[in-house]
Amino acid sequence: MTSSHILTGRYFMNGDHACAEGAIAAGCRFFGGYPITPSTEIAEHLSSRMPQIGGVYIQMEDEMGSMATVLGASAAGARAMTATSGPGFSLMMENIGLAAMMEIPCLVVNVQRGSPSTGLPTLPGQADVMQARWGSHGDYGVVAYAPWSPQEFFDLTVHSFNVADRYRIPVLLLADEVVGHMVERVEIPEADKIPHWGRKRPIGSKKEFKPFEAIDDDLVPPLAHAGEGYRLHFTGLTHDERGYPDMSADTHQVLVSRLVEKINRNPKDLIRTETFHLEGARIVVIAFGSTARSARRAVRVARERGLPVGFLRLISIWPFPEQLIRELAQDVDAFVMAEMNLGQMIREVERHVEQPVLGVNHAGGAMLAPEPILEAIEKVANNGSTSSR
């Protein structure tokens, strides 16, 4: 990586530009995409930056093509990404599944807008979180992050590339319009402060190499690239360790289980959360993305009013931090889940706790304000269950 391409310094920039600079800092040298609000600034910025740094910007004819070309570039060895919003994310689902099956690393950014369908192109939403988890057909592990600020959009772009390479997966970065268009301070670190986890690469005989053989405990096979002399075969069909199609239920079971298990087995690298005010909390508010900004505000005000409330911010939404939620559940009486959709992540929380979980929801189009979250906290607190135990 050439450090001179990294614009170390302090800036005032929007989240989409921060994402684009994060990609360059991470060593991304291929962007294939199709413009869509509110992610377009990522494409625009990279169309001007890639030619300066020897990278490729290609504007594809649609999002099926974007996803496919990103996978081709990554298969040839490049760190590669695309960026889109809901309508394009739907079209990408096909080859997000192919990326999972071929185990080709890449980054897919979805700057969420109000949905479904064309929805609210210029306004925020958080209603694609379940699509991110289950959108492509079949079972496969998913890693998805949700930044709450332009700075975090930068940082998570770098981290997402690292996770994608390390685990041979497509990583989904689910920003929202608020974070994409918000302008805030962004600090781009020195090149040597930018974490870099490379791809696991094959060692040993090229002839013996099996591109889908997971020897290590992490269940991730080393990745060889086109043109390196391995005579690789990659297919979206169910395949054995050589990558050869094998239409048997046993091979399918082994392969698909590994695609799920390699994510489940490595929570430390993948799960990210942040907590505030958990001391003595009897109520925990959970939120992610731009909604977390309002939620933290609501929690602060509630604390000032003497309510025993704490805050959990999900940075990774997938994998869901179920272990942490279960631990929290040992000491609290209720949860409040705030999200800019009509109740998606709340189901994940409910799956892991016995306490009541109160949802604060909005279909999207405007940021959730602190007030309804505060009202929910007060409502739960006044139920009496929180006063003593």
Partner: protein, 276 residues
Amino acid sequence: MVQPLLVEEHPLDGLIRADRMPHIWCPGCGIGIVMRCYAQAIINSGIDIEKHVVVSGIGCSGRVAGYMNIDSYHTTHGRGIPFAVGLKLANPELCVTVFSGDGDLAAIGGNHLIHAARRNIDITVICANNFNYGMTGGQMGPTTPYGALSTTSVYGCPEHPFNLVNLLAAAGANFVSRWTTIHVRQVIDDVLYAFNKPGFSFIEVLAPCPIGFGKSNDLEQGVDETLLYRERCVHEPDTALDKLGIDLREDQPIYVGRFVDREAPAYQPIRLEVEK
């Protein structure tokens, strides 16, 4: 006792994945002939075998990626071309070929096909055109001739097919040719020519599909369609592009040859000088 005759070696041995044989293709299927031509062109090319990459979409033709013993990617239906574009742009040293079917390339992948040709991306596309969706059992598709029977056009195909040569010429491809599985030498020559030709090259090869297309169109055996090619093919490369459509109803000619060979610059990503 008769001793079995053992063939020790075949010139293409190293290029075919013997451990994947037997292949899935039906007796009389033309796809294998086209694959053989592609393999021969790789040998003749003198380009390092390790730099050849084949990408396929989905279909009987798409299975070629699984049988070639080179770096090979069997992608999703219709998406072989954009995948190949990514490979080529990320590593321009690769000699990238897309091998797929008429349905894969011209129906579900049709948008990618015309846009890759418009951009004149430096890849080679080999289209095995068998006038139908073979893999799914013989449905009509974008190249099914008007009036032809298929499992979804039991009263005769009511749509007009693409004239692929004209389509690709209009879209901007640098090189466009059409042959059939009886034109083995020409196919080898054109694939080889396309490897070395900058820009987008498209080689359409008509291939018998006795099971999907032939059985319902009085071409029960692979050889029947082969004979039809022999009777109907006309090598007139100067024929106007819009006259190159394929109509099997009457005794219409099937025009074959090299129809487009131009020198428009191939796509290049923009590179600026970096001040250090």
